[in-house]
Structures are given as C-alpha cells and as structure tokens.
C-alpha cells in the first residue's frame, strides 16, 4: 500500500517528519504517512510550494526548465520536493528536521516515489 511505503521512509529516516504523495495537476494531497500531524492547510501549502519549486510546463519558475529534484532549507526545516520521471504530475514532498542527511535521504525518497508512481506499491 502507498501509505506503507511512506511509513517505511519515515521509519528509516527519523528526521523525516511528514511525507506526502500528491497530484500536481489538481494540487491534491492523496496520501500522507500515518504519523504525520500536519494540518490540511499546511499540507496544501506544501503542495503549492512543490509546484512553484519544481516548476510546471505552464510556469517554469526559477530554472530554465522544470526539475525532478529540489529542496529548500531554512533554520527550522528542510523540505524536499520530488517529481516522478514518467508521470510529471506525481510528486512527493517531505517536511524534515533541519539536520536531515540529504545525501542518504534523496535516493531513498526517489526510490519510494518510483515505487508508488510506477504502481509497484
């Protein structure tokens, strides 16, 4: 199940607090990990921020093209945004503690998204 994949990612990385699978086209959060305590409004904001940061065909924001991997760090939080390669509207966003080890986390999160988006979950 998709929720199991998300729970497994959070279990492996204790600094990952919330991970959510969402559809960028509808800006809808579909599934979150079972231990997430974020309010719906915050989840919706993260979904919007995912679209802004990763970019879309209609409005590529920062870079000259849309991207599949991005992160934003601030004093209290690190946020990770991922887009599925084969399904560009399938995204994973993660709200993490500031000290998350991105070198280890990014590949694991990409693998998680691949399993979910590819239908293997």
């Amino acid at each position: 199940m998709v929720a199991d994949q998300l729970d497994a990612l959070c279990a492996e990385f204790s600094n990952c607090i919330t991970v959510a699978f969402a559809d960028l086209a509808t800006q809808m959060v579909l599934v979150t990990n079972s231990t997430s305590r974020l309010r719906r409004e915050v989840l919706n904001e993260l979904c919007v921020e995912s679209g802004l940061t990763l970019g879309s065909d209609e409005q590529t924001r920062l870079g000259h093209k849309t991207v599949s991997v991005a992160f934003t760090a601030s004093p209290n939080q690190t946020k990770v945004f991922l887009r599925a390669t084969d399904e560009p509207d399938d995204i994973l966003f993660c709200a993490c503690n500031p000290d998350i080890d991105l070198e280890a986390f990014l590949p694991a999160a990409q693998s998680c998204l691949l399993k979910i988006s590819g239908g293997a979950a």
Binding site: V48, L52, G55, R61, L62, K65, T72, A73, S74, D101
Partner: protein
C-alpha cells in the same frame, strides 16, 4: 651581471624564505607547500610562480591529483597536464592570454578545484615544457591574482561571516557564483555562460518566485537555501542562498548538492 640594491634585496628575501623551509618536509613527493584554506593555498601557488625566473615546469601534487604548468620570467605560460580531479576542457596545452577572459575564467575553475582538494600540496620542479609556439607571454602574477582572487579572497578564519564561511566550506565545488547585496551585484566568478544564466535568474526569475512563495507558503523563513537539481547550465544544480539582504546564486555539480545543504546547515547552526 651587476645587481642593483633592489635586486639584492629581492634575492635576500627569497633566500631568507628558503632557509625557513623545514627540510624535514621535503619528501619524494617534492617540497611541501604549507598552507591551509583555499585562499592561502592559491596564494602559495602564486608565490611559487612569482619565484620562478628561469623557464621551469612546476608540478603541484595533492594525493592522487596533480597539475603541471610551464612558468618563465615570473609568468604562467600555460597548463600542460592535470589529472586526478575534474579538469575543464580547452585548458591543457593552451597558452594563456589575459585577453582571453573565457580561458582565464576556466583557469580560475581549474585552480580553485585543485586547491580545494583536501591534503598536503607538494611541489616538484623540472625542466620547462614548451607550450604553444613558444612565443607566448602568458599571464603575470597580478593578472592571475585578479582572475583567481574572487574565491581566494574568502578568508579561512573563525571570524568569517556566515556567507563567507559557507562559501569557504564549498572550496572547489563552486562552478560559478553571483553575489548580490541590497540589489547590487558585488562579485561573480566562473564561466561566462553560467554567470549569464545566474544573472538572468536573479534579474528575471527570482523576484517573482520569491513573491509567489511568500504569498502562498506561510512556513518559509530566511535565511534560506533553495536548490534545484539540473536547473543550471550543463545540468548543474542551481543553488540560491538568501541572508540579510544578500543573495548568492551558485552552480555546482548535481552530485555536490547534498553537501551544499550540509555545509549551509553547519554554518547556520554550528
């Protein structure tokens, strides 16, 4: 040859410096260049070039990496060999010309990459290797210092500001950088196409992005670091660090993006 007082003084200073070298630090790998930090290491290499009057090949080694250059008359004529680290195209075997700004920028990338490698630098000196037609004048120390200084000027000191400490930690990983303070471009380094891309992102894209983020995301705060893998030229990672009215835009290899996050965190929250 008669020497004037200035020549004698110069020679005396050079001999004094040579006698201060610890002979125990001469190894089969060559003479040790005792310097720490990107800036001092680049300055030490410049000093070796400045000390070279007759034509010689200077080869600097750090671990498995090495870089060899032809120097004559206190001028760098060109790089003849480099291995063990990422070497930009079009530099090796090319005679240096300070008017070729693209080439000079590439030497800055080359030298900052080499000097940023952890470990002791050793120098060996050999017979000169002809480069080009042999009729080149190369680059003077002043011209090299101007080209290499933007990264070398970041002091390796406990008193560094967070932005300088952050950049210092990124030794050798930065491909290009554009630093803006209170709306004005303060400095830029790196290949022209990368700097142009960073400039365009700063002037055309960052402000609307930041505004949209501020309007829609209540949880965002500065100082902040934003990284987009593959959004820079040549599929590099685009990094934007914001702090206290300053914006630093960088391109780094995608594989270094996670390290950038680590260094930013360590500087911001030691």
């Amino acid at each position: 040859m008669e020497m004037n007082a200035a020549d004698l003084s110069l020679l005396q200073a050079k001999f004094a410096r040579l006698t201060q070298l610890d002979s125990s630090e001469i190894s089969p790998a060559g003479r040790l260049i005792s310097a720490k930090g990107l800036g001092p290491r680049l300055e030490a290499i410049l000093t070796e070039i400045d000390d070279t009057l007759l034509g010689e090949t200077l080869t600097f080694h750090v671990g498995a990496a090495q870089i060899a250059m032809t120097v004559s008359g206190r001028r760098l004529l060109g790089f003849i060999d480099a291995s063990g680290f990422a070497v930009p195209d079009g530099i090796l075997g090319t005679t240096l010309s300070p008017e070729d700004t693209e080439l000079m920028d590439a030497t800055q990338v080359l030298m900052s990459s080499f000097a940023g490698i952890e470990g002791r630098i050793y120098l060996t000196v050999g017979a000169p290797t002809k480069i080009g037609t042999g009729a080149t004048v190369g680059a003077s120390i002043a011209q090299l210092r101007t080209s290499w200084t933007p990264l070398a000027s970041v002091e390796d000191s406990d008193d560094q500001t967070p932005p300088n400490a952050f950049l210092s930690r990124l030794e050798g990983k930065i491909i290009a950088m554009l630093h803006v303070q209170d709306g004005a471009v303060i400095s830029h380094v790196g290949p022209d196409d990368h700097v142009a891309a960073l400039s365009e992102i700063h002037t055309e894209r960052f402000k609307p992005f930041a505004a949209a983020r501020a309007a829609n995301v209540s949880t965002h705060a500065n100082p902040s670091l934003t990284c987009l893998l593959g959004a820079g030229p040549d599929d590099t990672a685009l990094i934007i660090a914001v702090r206290d009215g300053g914006i630093t835009l960088l391109t780094v290899a995608a594989k270094d993006a996670a390290k950038v996050h680590q260094f930013w965190r360590e500087v911001d929250q030691p």
